[in-house]
Symmetry: C2
Subunit: 101 residues, 2 copies
């Protein structure tokens, strides 16, 4: 499989990041990645949705620059681009993760 495309730091746009985060399922993915640290199999994150919807949400997060995804065998390993997001928008991710509602 070819490497998946990811936006470089200067290609990441705030509107796309906010749009990607503005969904309960994608927020769950982001919260799980933030808790577990690096290298989580996308498929192992508990979500009450089908595989194709999950794939769509992970792609939206990847294309916005929120997560990095790499293939490892048949799995896709997700990592939150926390350093990149903190560099571009200091405080944003922390504020989102602090949300109780």
């Amino acid at each position: 499989m070819d490497a998946l495309e990811h936006p470089a730091l200067d290609e990441i746009r705030i509107e796309a990041v906010l749009q990607a985060l503005a969904d309960p399922m994608r927020l769950t993915i982001v919260r799980t990645l933030a808790e577990r640290g690096t290298g989580v199999a996308c498929g192992s994150i508990e979500l009450s949705i089908g595989k194709s919807t999950r794939t769509h949400h992970v792609r939206t997060l990847r294309e916005a620059g929120v997560v990095h995804v790499r293939a490892e065998g048949t799995s896709r390993i997700c990592t939150l681009r926390r350093d990149d997001l903190d560099a571009l928008y200091p405080g944003l991710l922390g504020g989102v993760l602090a949300a109780e509602h």
Copy 2:
């Protein structure tokens, strides 16, 4: 005119706030309000859009809990709910306002 409805602090939802912020025009409104402080006439914010679109964007921000709007004569005065957002999602608004792209 009746007072406009605003969500109370415990009614504000992170998904709605992110969705409201994830638009270039609405981000421009939020940036302008952050720069000018309290009490900006919504209509005085420079935007290359018509009145009805502007009204729609301000309503989206108000209903999400991002701005407070009150009537003053025929004007509507907008204020960013910065303290409320900082209390709920510390860092989020600062990160968004820091965005260069």
